[in-house]
């Protein structure tokens, strides 16, 4: 079997889920024509009536999905860019996240919202955003952030099977950039676990999406310099795998958290706080965060975009500093 891209893994998982469960349907803007990233290419033809173009209205994409899921379907909604999900914030926060809780389990919502997030594609302020901090703070909604194609496939299938709302975040810069042979690759099948993808003795790096790949590249480079990195692929924001995170932090006593999102109030804060509370005695250095700067959003021009986004060089530099601490 040939290596597949992130995009192919997503597309394949959608087809697989639709094939095996009639209740699964796909809805969103332009999904019938295949979607702007082509994630739903071919599905409309293959599954007639089960791929539904919606009006240009995100609150309704999510609100209608809630109704579909409550009724017993398994909607997989696509929000064209993560940046446009915010009009559906209310439907997610006030409705979807509380559905099961507020009925004590009498009602529940097997629904998935997929959306491309992240920068690096000259998308400017409204096509580059990281949204995990906002939507990872809604108990009742699971938030998944895979990095490797095999996990994209297995976790998307798990998300569709899950009886709860799952926000499935797809890093758009990695869609065609990252490839993996699915066969034999480690693939998480349970939502809520992180994975240690590399072990080293000096510094622990925790990341997700494109930053995970940049972190791995930095780790490779650092290994040549004699600095060993433990790298954690977060995979899930909600539920948060505190155990794996703390285990990895304890292994080196020094932690660097990397994310594209802006620093203050970004999800890295939760990871740092978790470690500062539950692995405190093992720490040998301040917990460092390498993140986007505290500006409202990623700028368009590539020079500024590159300045905004952490990359392997800056990650390596931060690790070196920590290692020397």
């Amino acid at each position: 079997m040939a290596a597949v891209t992130v995009l192919e893994a997503v597309r394949g998982a959608l087809a697989e889920a639709m094939e095996r469960d009639e209740r699964v349907l796909v809805l969103g803007e332009d999904v019938e024509a295949g979607g702007v990233f082509r994630a739903t290419d071919g599905l409309a033809k293959r599954f007639p009536g089960r791929v539904i173009d919606t009006p240009l209205a995100e609150s309704s994409i999510i609100g209608v999905s809630i109704g579909l899921a409550h009724y017993g379907m398994r909607p997989v909604a696509e929000i064209q860019f993560a940046d446009f999900i915010h009009a559906g914030f209310d439907q997610l926060c006030s409705e979807a996240s509380r559905w099961c809780y507020r009925t004590c389990g009498d009602a529940w919502l097997p629904m998935v919202v997929r959306t491309p997030w992240g920068g690096g594609v000259h998308g400017g302020q409204h096509h580059s955003q990281s949204i995990e901090a906002y939507y990872g703070h809604m108990p009742g909604i699971k938030v998944v952030v895979p990095s490797f194609p095999a996990d994209y496939r297995s976790l998307l299938l798990a998300a569709i099977d899950d009886p709860n709302p799952v926000l499935f975040l797809e890093h758009k810069r990695t869609y065609r950039l990252i490839r993996q042979e699915l066969e034999g690759a480690p693939a998480e099948t349970v939502i809520g676990r992180s994975r240690i993808v590399r072990r080293g003795d000096d510094v622990t790096v925790i990341a997700w999406g494109l930053m995970l790949h940049e972190s791995l590249a930095a780790a490779e480079q650092l290994a040549a310099e004699g600095i060993g990195c433990t790298v954690v692929d977060l995979l899930s924001v909600q539920p948060l795998d505190r155990e794996t995170i703390c285990e990895a932090a304890k292994a080196t006593g020094k932690v660097l958290i990397v994310h594209e999102d802006t620093l203050t109030g970004g999800f890295g804060a939760e990871i740092a706080a978790t470690i500062a509370e539950h692995a405190f005695e093992f720490l040998d250095a301040p917990i460092r965060r390498l993140c986007g700067p505290d500006v409202p959003a990623m700028p368009y021009h590539h020079a500024m975009e590159a300045f905004f986004m952490p990359d392997r060089e800056r990650i390596a530099a931060a690790v070196r500093e920590l290692a020397a601490y």
Binding site: L25, G49, R50, I52, T54, P55, A57, S59, S60, I62, G63, V64, S65, I66, G67, L68, A69, H70, Y71, G72, M73, P75, A87, D90, Q91, S94, E95, R98, W99, C100, Y101, R102, T103, C104, G105, D106, A107, W108, P110, P139, G140, K142, D162, P163, N164
Partner: protein, 340 residues
């Protein structure tokens, strides 16, 4: 009771009515039951036994008329907080209503997790809702789409107040439902106020029903103080809708005879004279009068019915007060559905 909630007039309609005698009595009974429950809840609130009440007083005709035109067990409800009477028609008991009002552990709606009047009962096809107004209209569209895909013949009844039609979700729901010609009855109970704001502050058109024209949705205005008229309007729309006729928008003109809620002081913004004028059209009084006038029932029979309801409500409140409260740690659990 269940048989009379069926919207078909199997036993033959009462002359001049689209409903049988039994149904008409049932209709009146539901309205009285809703009123007595609201009154009792407010008493409990004043006694410090309930924290909050939001009542449907003045809207019983709209609610019961509409709900009786539907099919409990088949049709879905996506109601809003004032719709106690709608829920009664769909099977909620007086005891359950009281459990809900008191936030008791065994309240089937939310087990004390939500404020009172936030309905929800999966088995009865009542969709759980939040306090955020108008969101449920989109859920209704989604359910209707699901039913369409599965080939189930039903309608989804989605209600809200006139103020709530100002929200974006109202637009998006009507737009979505009309594009897909979904079986949704959008039922707007126009009670003249959104808390303190009169309808003119919510829209520049005279009728909520005018809003339907933006979507090509057949829309109607009906006298919401007249239960029978509401029944007829909703019945016709629902029958069309469930057979593929697409969504309908129905505006029931009624009036909120009480303040917005137990927290509200309506004397700040509502002219006393206006209230008194509307109080004369109290839907219970109107229907009672008509039933007597048209020979559906005699004063004694109605008085008997009222006494029964009074007793039912008294008993339900007494019973509910003795039921267990949620334990503090019941705040935990059911964040996620297991298995499923």
């Amino acid at each position: 009771m269940a048989s009379a909630t069926n919207s078909e007039t199997a036993g033959g309609a009462h002359p001049g009515y689209p409903l049988t005698r039994a149904q008409l009595l049932q209709m009146y009974r539901y309205m009285v039951l809703a009123r007595r429950l609201d009154e009792r809840m407010m008493t409990l609130q004043r006694q410090g036994l309930a924290a909050f009440v939001i009542a449907g007083v003045g809207q019983e005709a709209a609610q019961v008329g509409a709900a009786m035109a539907l099919r409990p067990g088949v049709d879905y409800l996506a109601p809003y907080y004032r719709d106690l009477a709608v829920n009664l028609v769909f099977g909620m008991t007086a005891r359950e209503a009281m459990l809900n009002a008191l936030g008791k552990r065994d309240d089937p709606n939310s087990h004390g997790r939500q404020m009172p009047a936030h309905w929800g009962n999966r088995e009865r096809r009542v969709v759980t809702q939040s306090s955020v107004v108008a969101t449920q209209l989109l859920h209704a569209a989604g359910i209707a789409l699901g039913a369409r895909l599965r080939g189930e013949e039903l309608v989804v009844f989605a209600s809200c107040g006139e103020g709530s039609t100002s929200r974006g979700d109202f637009h998006e729901a009507l737009n979505f439902a009309s594009i897909h010609r979904l079986p949704v009855i959008f039922f707007v109970e126009n009670n003249g106020y959104a808390i303190s704001e009169r309808t003119e502050k919510e829209m520049a058109v005279p009728h909520v029903a005018d809003r339907g024209r933006a979507y090509g949705i057949p829309s109607a205005v009906v006298d919401g103080m007249d239960a029978v008229a509401v029944y007829q309007t909703v019945k016709a729309a629902a029958d069309q809708s469930r057979r593929g006729g697409g969504p309908h928008l129905i505006e029931a003109k009624c009036y909120r005879l009480w303040p917005h809620s137990s927290d509200d002081d309506d004397t700040r913004y509502r002219p006393r004279a206006e209230l008194e004028e509307w109080a004369k059209k109290d839907p219970l009084v109107v229907l009672r009068g008509r039933l007597m006038e048209d020979g559906v029932a005699a004063d004694g029979e109605l008085a008997q019915l009222e006494a029964e309801v009074e007793e039912e409500v008294r008993e339900a409140a007494q019973w509910a007060l003795r039921q267990p409260d949620p334990a503090p740690e019941d705040a935990l659990g059911y964040v996620f559905k297991e298995g499923g």
